[in-house]
């Protein structure tokens, strides 16, 4: 599947300033793996070793994947996967 990944401003220096980048993959996990292959600088921001960092929220078409199947959430052609720093709080 071809999807669009939205990059938040604190990560854009690692995607040559691009706000949106293209990626491939059947699940959210696969899409993220593809993104960090294309933009290796993002790996350290998104992953701690093999694990996705705690303070990044992932939205598929505006829906937080934690309400779906998390990283196993299936993505269809053309969806928007947004990476959002979870910075605020109660």
């Amino acid at each position: 599947m071809s999807v669009t990944v939205e990059i938040p401003s604190p990560m854009r220096d690692l995607t040559d300033g691009q706000t949106r980048v293209a990626a491939e993959g059947a699940t959210v996990a696969a899409v993220l793996a593809d993104v960090v292959t294309r933009y290796p600088g993002l790996r350290a921001k998104l992953y701690d070793g093999d694990k996705l960092r705690h303070y990044i929220n992932i939205l598929v078409n505006d829906e937080d994947v934690r309400y779906l199947d998390d990283l196993d959430t299936v993505v269809n052609d053309g969806v928007v996967v947004a990476l959002i720093p979870a910075v605020a709080g109660g």
Partner: protein
Amino acid sequence: MATSQAEFTIGLQCKLCGKIYPKSPVNFCTDDFGPLEVVYDYPAIRANVSRAQIEARPRTMWRYRELLPLDGEPTVGPQVGGTPLIRADRLAKELGVSKLWIKNDAVNFPTLSFKDRVVSVALSKAREFGFKTVGCASTGNLANSVAANAAQAGLEAYVFVPSDLERAKILNTSVYGAKVIAVHGTYDEVNRLCTQVAFKFNWGFVNINLRPFYAEGSKTMGFEIAEDLGWRFPQHVIAPMAGGSLIGKIHKSFEELYKVGLVNEAPRTKMYGAQATGCNPITDAVKTGRDRHKPVRKPNTICKSLAIGDPADGYFSKNLIHTTGGWADDVTDDEIVEGMLLLARTEGIFAETAGGVTIAVARKLLAENRLPRDEEIVLCITGNGLKTQDALEDAVEKPALIKPSLDAFLEVFSGGDMGLAKSYGPAVLV
């Protein structure tokens, strides 16, 4: 050796990677988006504090000012804190435990919840940073506190709340002249909106860009508990959790008292967290052992003050509960009401729904043998029942309505103890 208040606070540090940032209104690490926490120069503080010096100061949270992140004197909320720690023997008897205390922030000044502690730090800091407008996303108590303390400080306040909040919590915000924005949505949606507002406007949002400073205020609840126990720590503390910050800061306060030499023995206190079953992301993570909490999309509980579905400090509070050897549990709306009534009828304390959660969870943990009956337990009551009266609408008896005559009274009086009246002899007063 540092000797001035400003030098006791070094800066902010990422809780994930340890990177240090200067004291500024930022709340996340640009490397990994981890939350930032205030770091202190503990050796310098240790050389500059003593029990005698603290005890000689007024009984407010600011008697522990060396361990709070201001550069100067507090200018907002100078009289916050200093709430009673009471020995709760009648409640202890009901619960079947031997040593029980209640830390009663239902009577914290000025807005009757522990939130005045965090807000006085946040708004004093907001003034140091030069903000003229402040704001917050709130489940109610924070809204009240930001509005009142901003009024006292002469700051403009924008307060964002979920639109289904209790009437009293909204009125208790508007009265102070704050601009209240009621958002159709959950707290988490309100919070996300506020993050966007905070990035666009140069305002001091107490629980967003001022959050590292704000959160430190909760430590004073723990400082007071330890001082009132005679400069030592209880074996067990139960605290209600929404974002999961308070419980962590109470424990941090114990560690700090030890680090700066005010208490000689390291804390071994077990921390227990309490939530409502209708919004239990943290207790669920503790009980199931999952690494990341699963957010609750649509919280559904009478305890609106704790209804945060995606808690910012969920991860840290869960870890704290595990590492200290405590536990966590959640209770239903009926149990919450029972908890409120039990506290009111044994100790004469009218706590809000969050207090009902804490009492009911204590009872549940005891029943599950998660909490020993013969050790020292402190229950944290964090808000006042006058603000959540809706929750008790059907739970308390309506008053007996009678004519102003003795006969009418005798008709409803169902033969209880007549007390002293008997000793006056036969009907002398009639």
